[in-house]
């Protein structure tokens, strides 16, 4: 397997506080990894640092073998979908939210058809009726799945998921698990949900910004 992401002695801090300290791990293509630990242990910081949203104070991050710089960051963002606990949909209706990225130069000309929209929604246990709904009036779980659907429509291969099943019922969770079981998709997630953790192939345990344990998950 080829390494997609490598964290090498990564340290991130804010004034007066170290959030990540000397964190090192490698994530290979197709792996489904989960970052576990108490609140404030630095799990979400790992995802944000990878996306360039927080600066490194030490160490290095490699994406597909290349050190993080402006070009590598563009590549990361091109391949990656980030879905937070409360995703921002950024448009009035669900349909507009799904089509939003296709207004940008990077995806112009790849606008999905109505059938493709409905297929992706069906994969995530969402009805096609949701397309015309006001995006501010849908539930948190629906918002998370719409954000996931947007990543799938963009053909992203790396998914950074922050508590993505926190607002989902069992049926919806199963649908999300099924989607991410695809070998072509690589997942680096943050979760407290035991069901999600059980579905992952790798568990990275963080405590106070340090990586305590990096283990393969037998149940996956």
């Amino acid at each position: 397997m080829s390494a997609i992401i490598e964290f090498s002695h990564v340290t991130v801090s804010v004034p007066d506080k170290i959030i990540l300290s000397e964190v090192s791990f490698t994530l290979n293509a197709g792996e489904k990894a989960v970052l576990c630990g108490k609140s404030g242990s630095g799990k979400s910081t790992v995802l944000k640092t990878l996306l360039g949203l927080l600066p490194l104070q030490g160490g290095a991050i490699y994406f597909q073998g290349k050190p993080l710089d402006v070009l590598a960051m563009a590549a990361i963002r091109r391949h990656t979908a980030y879905i937070g606990q409360e995703p921002v949909l950024g448009a009035e209706t669900v349909r507009a939210a799904l089509l939003l990225p296709f207004q940008f130069k990077a995806h112009r000309g790849h606008k999905p058809t109505d059938t493709q929209l409905k297929d992706v929604l069906a994969q995530l246990q969402l009805s096609a009726d949701i397309l015309e709904q006001d995006s501010s009036r849908i539930s948190g779980g629906e918002k998370q799945r719409i954000a996931l659907a947007r990543g799938l429509l963009l053909g992203k291969s790396l998914y950074l998921l922050d508590e993505v099943t926190s607002a989902l019922d069992d049926e919806s969770k199963q649908a999300v698990f099924a989607v991410f079981a695809q070998p072509s998709l690589t997942v680096l997630s943050v979760a407290h949900d035991p069901d999600w953790i059980a579905c992952c192939t790798r568990v990275l345990q963080l405590e106070d910004g340090r990586l305590l344990e990096d283990s393969l998950h037998e149940h996956a």
Binding site: L53, G90, K105, A106, L154
Partner: protein, 263 residues
């Protein structure tokens, strides 16, 4: 028609007009004596200085001195815009100076050279007051534009970052806030133009009429200055925000916290 002078005793009577509002404020429990006094003294001293330097500029009428004075006005406006917008001058002083200099000079020279056409274009009597009026309004617009743009980016940072992660360029991700900021900045000028003459008589026109001009001539100058203000404010805001973005983000297009004057 000669304008009647206001003699020193009448000037003293003029300040007496403030006594009644001061008393009314005091009676309703607002103790603003200090603020009122500072306001009146500052206004009087600043205008006395303006009178002194305008008289000097007009009498010398030297193109380099006129240019130097306009440059001083631009620098003061530049720093004042950034201070009022809550942004640090070391990041934005150059971009703001470039934007307001270009737009103020463009609008002022357009008015002087193509519209008013004095004997020589650097005539201080036209150049300095027109540049001052254009710049004064341009300054208000740029404060609004910068403040709105960066506060919108800050309060919608998650949305901005979502756009970036969905493939938007920095410009594509910031454009919604950019449009809102430019619209907010030019709205007062547009509203002012739409109600001009109906709601109030503009200051420049009133000044010209009191100064002895024919009302029709004053009206034409007022139209000229309003169009100059609209053009310079709009251009300055559009250019300023665009240029400022070069300093406001890091290499990964994340908004830099250190550009804000407070936290």
């Amino acid at each position: 028609m000669n304008t009647l002078d206001i003699a020193p005793p009448q000037m003293a009577v003029l300040y007496g007009l403030c006594l009644l509002p001061w008393l009314a404020l005091w009676l309703i429990g607002l103790r603003l004596s200090r603020d009122i006094l500072i306001g009146i003294v500052r206004m009087s001293l600043q205008l006395a200085l303006v009178g002194f330097y305008l008289k000097t500029l007009f009498s010398l009428d030297d193109p380099w001195l006129n240019a130097l004075w306009i440059f001083v006005m631009l620098v003061v406006a530049d720093l004042s815009i950034l201070q009022r917008a809550g942004l640090k001058a070391r990041f934005f002083a150059l971009s703001t100076l470039v934007a307001i200099t270009f737009s103020t000079l463009f609008a002022t020279f357009y008015l002087v050279v193509l519209v008013i056409q004095p004997e020589y274009f650097y005539d201080a009597r036209y150049l300095v007051p027109l540049a001052g009026m254009v710049l004064g309004n341009c300054q208000q617009g740029n404060v609004i534009a910068l403040e709105r743009f960066y506060s919108a980016l800050r309060s919608n940072e998650l949305e901005y970052q979502t756009f970036l992660l969905l493939g938007a360029t920095r410009w594509e991700a910031a454009r919604p806030y950019y449009r809102i900021a430019v619209q907010a900045a030019i709205s007062p000028t547009l509203a002012n133009m739409a109600t001009m003459g109906l709601v109030s008589l503009p200051g420049m026109m009133t000044g010209q009429i009191l100064g002895g001009s024919e009302p029709w001539l004053a009206v034409k100058y007022q139209i000229a200055i309003m169009i100059g203000i609209f053009a310079s404010t709009t251009l300055a805001c559009i250019i300023n925000l665009k240029l400022s973005m070069r300093m406001a983000f890091n290499a990964y297009d994340v908004l830099r916290r250190e550009v804000f004057a407070k936290g």
